[in-house]
């Protein structure tokens, strides 16, 4: 039992150390931005939620289709393009370069969104 506890504490300490490293390498604006390396966008009711998403460079954004109709996630600048996502299917893209990335659903082009990478 004691051995297991100490292992747990060791792992936790290691985790904190890694997180600390992450914060230091993200740059000056890091404290204002979401810490997790993955952000979620839900697709539902013919809309991306949130429509506008701001993330730190290096973040992976995952879109999940919660609608009962298929949708796609297509960058207007052709930077990324999902296959057709039926209900519950996902698409991920990692944003390494700062900039603005507008996208839309190529099946229902009125559905638009934007990822802003800082």
């Amino acid at each position: 039992m004691r051995k297991r506890v100490s292992t747990g504490i060791f792992v936790a300490a290691l985790g904190l150390g890694v997180a600390g490293l992450g914060v230091r390498s993200a740059g000056v604006a890091a404290s204002a931005l979401p810490r997790p390396a993955t952000m979620e966008v839900a697709i539902d009711n013919f809309a991306f939620g949130p429509t506008d998403l701001t993330v730190a460079a290096g973040t992976t954004v995952t879109w999940t289709n919660r609608d009962d109709i298929p949708h796609t996630v297509v960058s207007t600048e052709k930077v990324f393009k999902s296959k057709v996502l039926d209900t519950d299917e996902k698409f991920s893209s990692t944003f390494s370069t700062p900039g603005t990335y507008p996208y839309f659903c190529s099946i229902h082009p009125k559905m638009t969104g934007k990822v802003v990478v800082q």
């Binding site: 013919f46 809309a47 009962d68 298929p70 207007t76 057709v84 209900t87 839309f104 099946i107």
Partner: protein, 321 residues
């Protein structure tokens, strides 16, 4: 139909919508569609649920049926039995007093552009009395491959992304494609190449030629917030101004709607798969679930009668209930 009250995935339910356990379920469903008769240059449409009086079409020059939005492969709550409603549609076609000469399918044949979905619709349509079916694609038919598969299957003799025209007993039919190269934030789109072809196609036709244009997304602005319109349809319609009788048949919105503008009658057909809400009455234009025993009445169609040259229109709504 208490079975359809299940919220979870239906057991024994294949992707093409066929319930292996209970084919009998199909018997309870009625299909939808619009049956057209050309009589003396005048286009009349009838609900498929209307039994035409015997001999009423004896002077008909031309009769055809429009079906739309079969979405084979859709299996969510709004209609877990798309195969059944599609089958019921062809059965209705076969029971018409005057068999239609051919059918128009205004797109969204499949739900996910999967080969097996197209195959199933082809199988279902084989049992229709009208052997010739003229298609135009919906946005669900051109997923992943910019419509290559659609063209291979249905685009023989067509130009570009699948547009074409043909004549039947003096009526000129034009199939247009407005579901490709869609721009972010935009509506349906015909594109320059297709518009040029259209202008040329109708250039030498006599003004008295009845014209029927069919395309998936409405060629009039039904509700732009939901993408229900076509960016450059105005230009297409300008080439048809000279004709005394123009009928535009569309699908996409899964409900019947019509409008008259000068010499042009616009008509959208119901889907044979599932209904969608009236413009602005819901958060989004997605599949609308109704109680199972009401689905038939929602899948009903609208009878449209118009008189060429007189710009008058009689509209009669009739459901399949």
């Amino acid at each position: 139909m208490s079975e359809t009250n299940n919220d979870e995935a239906l057991p024994g339910h294949d992707h093409d919508g066929v319930d292996r356990r209970g084919f009998l379920k199909c018997m309870a469903w009625a299909g939808t569609g619009a049956f057209y008769v050309m009589q003396g240059g005048v286009l009349k449409s009838y609900s498929l649920s209307t039994r035409l009086p015997l001999g009423s079409t004896s002077t008909a020059e031309l009769s055809f049926v429009q079906i739309s939005d079969s979405h084979m492969g859709f299996n969510k709550q709004a209609n877990p039995y798309v195969f059944c409603t599609d089958t019921a549609t062809t059965e209705k076609v076969n029971r018409l007093a005057t068999p239609p000469e051919f059918m128009l399918h205004t797109g969204d044949i499949s739900h996910l552009s999967r080969p097996e979905e197209f195959d199933t619709v082809d199988q279902v349509l084989k049992s229709a009395s009208a052997k010739d079916v003229f298609f135009v694609p919906g946005e669900h038919d051109v997923l992943e491959d910019d419509g290559k598969q659609y063209l291979e299957r249905y685009g023989k003799g067509a130009k570009g992304a699948g547009w074409y025209s043909f004549d039947k007993k003096g009526v000129h039919f034009i199939g247009l494609v407005n579901v490709l190269n869609l721009k972010a934030g935009g509506l349906g789109s015909l594109g320059g190449e297709q518009l040029e072809w259209l202008e040329d196609d109708v250039k030498h036709l006599k003004h008295s030629t009845p014209i029927v244009v069919f395309a998936h997304i409405p060629l009039w602005t039904v509700y732009p917030e939901w993408g229900w319109g076509t960016e450059d349809s105005g230009q297409a319609l300008s080439y048809l101004k000279k004709f005394g009788s123009v009928t535009v048949l569309n699908g996409h919105i899964h409900q019947t709607m019509q409008k008259v503008e000068g010499n042009v009658t616009f008509h959208t057909a119901a889907s044979t798969a599932f209904p969608q809400p009236r413009p602005g009455t819901a958060e989004s234009p997605g599949p609308m679930t109704v109680p199972a025993d009401q689905l038939k009445s929602i899948l009903g169609i609208t009878d449209v009668t118009y008189v060429r040259g007189k710009h008058s229109l009689a509209v009669v709504d009739s459901s399949l209930a």
